[in-house]
């Protein structure tokens, strides 16, 4: 049983693709899995062809309990459910700030769901806010997709500093390289520098058109193109992550 937050300060690094494909793989193993779409853009929700519940919003999310139960949707895949995002999440920090123990709110909301689901994935919005702090507090693992560029590297260091500041352990962080372009020399250089560091996974996700096309066929690559290099790359990545999760 684990809560896995997929996070990066930067946008457009493949967070949603990661959350969608890994939660799909977790469910395919027969583990009851929930994907929480916390990004107000609702991309994960879109990928599963789900429309958010009109009655659901930030307030209900933070209340938790039956408000969440009623909003969870079954995806087209056995064992995989989704908690759709709502556009009102864009102002979630204001709502959190008004609450007592504002850092632990999400953790409390997830508590009953931990009993129902074996794995819970959180697709996080790209920023560092009170919501991120909440998610870091609630998560057992923070999975960071990283495009091997200098700026990405900097953002990773920012994340580590932030975790230190809020008193969260760096050991929660698992980093993997995302959208890797083999013909770019700089990608290789950076990966060579980082690969030896603690918490960096050897499995990587290449930059592939099949992953970008998820927006067209609106389902995980493993379901649409099970034998494609993209699908197999996620299988490798999930295997690597499961191994590490078991160890910790």
């Amino acid at each position: 049983m684990a809560v896995i937050a997929v996070y990066n300060i930067k946008g457009g690094v493949g967070k949603t693709a990661t959350a969608v494909n890994l939660s799909y793989l977790s469910a395919r193993e027969g583990r009851k899995t929930l994907l929480c779409d916390m990004d107000p853009q609702g991309s994960s929700t879109f990928y599963f062809r789900i429309r958010p519940d009109r009655k659901f919003n930030t307030k209900k999310l933070l209340k938790g309990g039956k408000h969440i139960d009623q909003s969870i949707r079954g995806t087209d895949f056995p064992w995989l459910d989704l908690l759709p995002a709502d556009f009102s999440y864009r102002n979630i920090d204001i709502a959190l700030d008004d609450m007592k123990k504002s850092r632990q709110r999400i953790s409390r909301v997830l508590k009953p769901l931990r009993r129902e689901y074996q794995n819970i994935f959180i697709d996080c919005p790209p920023n560092i806010t009170l919501l991120s702090e909440n998610i870091f507090y609630a998560a057992d693992h923070i999975l960071v997709p990283l495009i091997p560029t200098t700026l990405s590297h900097l953002s990773l260091q920012q994340l580590y500093r932030f975790l230190e500041e809020i008193g969260e352990s760096r050991s929660k962080v698992m980093v993997f390289f995302s959208m890797v372009e083999k013909r770019k020399k700089m990608h290789w250089e950076l990966m060579r520098q980082l690969i030896k560091k603690k918490g960096v996974l050897p499995a990587l996700i290449p930059y592939l058109a099949d992953i970008e096309k998820m927006g067209l066929y609106r389902q995980p690559v493993g379901a649409a193109l099970p034998q494609s290099p993209a699908a197999l790359a996620y299988v490798d990545l999930w295997r690597e992550i499961s191994k590490r999760m078991e160890k910790s």
Binding site: R49, R73, Q219
Partner: protein
């Protein structure tokens, strides 16, 4: 649109309805009409073969569990929800008989207390061709799944079709729409999720819960004594017949146990309920059933020693335990020999003739001449017999004191047994709660006497085994030491049980119990 992940059967979440396809409907047009009414996405057809298991007396089904093997993997599921309790795959495609044959696993942990000493029997093999259709909304999202399943029982070729509608969490309206469509289509009443299992099992001639080792004869107070006794004997004979094959094929030790209990009950009835059957019939039955009792005795005795192996070992210090190995090997060898003899007997013309004769009398139209008790109302006779047995138990019980020889306790045990059987025969004529209480009180006394007797029989057997051991060899010396230890331990326990007899006896003859029995039976 999704083309994989077509295993949604056991995934929890949404609602589910199952219909058996009425004979008046054909699947082809039904699927076509469904596609006209909704946006439908077909999935690949799947074929699965499941072999279903339970014990002879439905121990899994009774606990609302079902067990099947599919492609070498064992699945234990909850009967009503079809949710999986656990699955087990041992790698090799083995067919396990007893719970302890399973390698250590959650499956074994769950099965052990339920199956106890009973073996798993294959009930039916169901081959299912499953055609799945996804019902989509305008976004192409699946909002419900429909399965058109054709089941065939491999053993009999019997066929059965079901339609299953499975909803998705958060899409209740979709479920309702499709459900409404089926209702309008004339689908009829829903069936249980395990209906295909039941149909398959039925086609092989069995029905869930069609066997229980409990004796339950439904008598009517206005029946004549002969009608009532014939009904009781018929039921006991049926129990015997239903256990024959299990004994012959040595499926587990409970078949013989249940068979013997039915024989004992019959013998007890023949002795207790006098002047009801024609004299010639009675004499012959008494002789025949006495023979059945003795011919089945040896195997059962040996079964009991082998089943109690762990209990025997626990009575000895650890160091002495291995010395008993040769004793149990010896017992197992003897048991196999006896079992083969018994099995041969049950297949012999002699046995068939014996049973055939009894069967013909009980089921025949001509039940013979009237006898002094044959036309008396059963109620009257029942009261009379139970009263007589009760008085005897009380009389013998009171006569026993600390100085009485063991023989006296043995006789009391026999009297109690007769009373117990008499009460069980006629239980349905009396108020259920009271008869239950009366039996429970008697059982407490019987438990004490039973333990006392078992301990005495065990000591006798060990002593005679010891006497037959050839002296000299080291192995036999060790064995003799272990048996000596056992004897001491058994003797002490027997004395302990005897010490508790007084309390048990006084409890049974308490004022409250006296009233309970008097009110009911006089």
């Amino acid at each position: 649109m999704p083309t994989t992940g077509h295993r949604a059967r056991t995934a929890p979440g949404g609602r589910r309805s199952i219909w058996s396809l009425p004979a008046s409907l054909e699947v082809g047009p039904l699927i076509a009409d469904l596609a006209k009414a909704f946006q439908v996405q077909p999935e690949k057809d799947l074929t699965r073969v499941r072999k279903w298991f339970d014990t002879h007396d439905w121990r899994l089904y009774r606990r609302k569990l079902l067990l099947f093997q599919e492609q070498c993997q064992w699945h234990l599921i909850h009967r009503d929800s079809e949710e999986q309790a656990t699955a087990f795959s041992g790698g090799k495609c083995e067919q396990y008989r007893y719970s302890w044959d399973f390698p250590v696993s959650r499956m074994r942990v769950l099965l052990e207390p339920v199956l106890s000493i009973r073996s798993l029997l294959p009930l039916a093999t169901l081959q299912t061709i499953s055609r799945c259709r996804r019902i989509l909304n305008r976004d192409g999202k699946t909002i419900a799944l429909v399965y058109f399943d054709d089941h065939e029982t491999r053993e009999t070729g019997a066929r059965f079709s079901t339609v299953t509608l499975k909803g998705m969490r958060g899409y209740d309206s979709g479920f309702k729409e499709v459900s409404g469509f089926f209702a309008a289509y004339g689908m009829g009443n829903e069936v249980a999720p395990y209906a295909p299992f039941e149909q398959g099992v039925r086609s092989t001639g069995r029905t869930p819960l069609d066997y229980s080792s409990k004796f339950r004869a439904k008598l009517q107070p206005q029946m004549t004594a002969r009608q009532a006794m014939a009904l009781i004997y018929r039921q006991l004979l049926e129990t015997m017949e239903r256990n024959e094959q299990g004994i012959i094929h040595d499926l587990d030790s409970e078949f013989l146990h249940d068979f013997r209990v039915a024989v004992r009950r019959t013998r007890s009835g023949l002795g207790l309920v006098r002047d009801v059957l024609p004299r010639a019939v009675l004499e012959r039955a008494k002789k025949d059933f006495s023979r059945l009792g003795s011919i089945t005795g040896a195997t059962r005795d040996l079964d009991v020693y082998l089943l109690d192996r762990e209990k025997y070992l626990a009575r000895l210090p650890e160091k002495l335990r291995p010395h008993l190995d040769s004793f149990f090997t010896d017992m197992a060898g003897r048991r196999d020999k006896e079992q083969r003899r018994l099995s041969a007997y049950l297949r012999s013309p002699e046995y068939r003739k014996l049973i055939g004769h009894w069967h013909a009398y009980l089921h025949g139209l001509d039940q013979g001449d009237e006898t002094p008790n044959s036309v008396r109302p059963v109620m009257e006779l029942a009261r009379e017999i139970i009263c007589r047995r009760y008085t005897k138990v009380m009389k013998r019980g009171k006569a026993i004191n600390d100085a009485s020889p063991d023989e006296e306790l043995h006789r009391l045990r026999i009297q109690c047994k007769k009373l117990r059987y008499a009460m069980e025969f006629f239980a349905s004529l009396f108020p259920a709660a009271e008869i239950k209480r009366a039996v429970k009180q008697l059982k407490k006394l019987q438990d004490n006497l039973g333990s006392f007797n078992d301990l005495s029989v065990q000591q006798d057997m060990l002593r005679s085994y010891l006497a037959g051991l050839r002296p000299g060899s080291r192995k036999n010396q060790d064995l003799a030491t272990a048996i000596g230890g056992l004897l001491t331990n058994l003797h002490h326990e027997q004395q302990e049980v005897r010490r508790h007899f007084d309390a048990a006896s006084q409890h049974f003859s308490s004022e409250k119990n006296l009233l309970l029995y008097r009110n009911m039976f006089t």
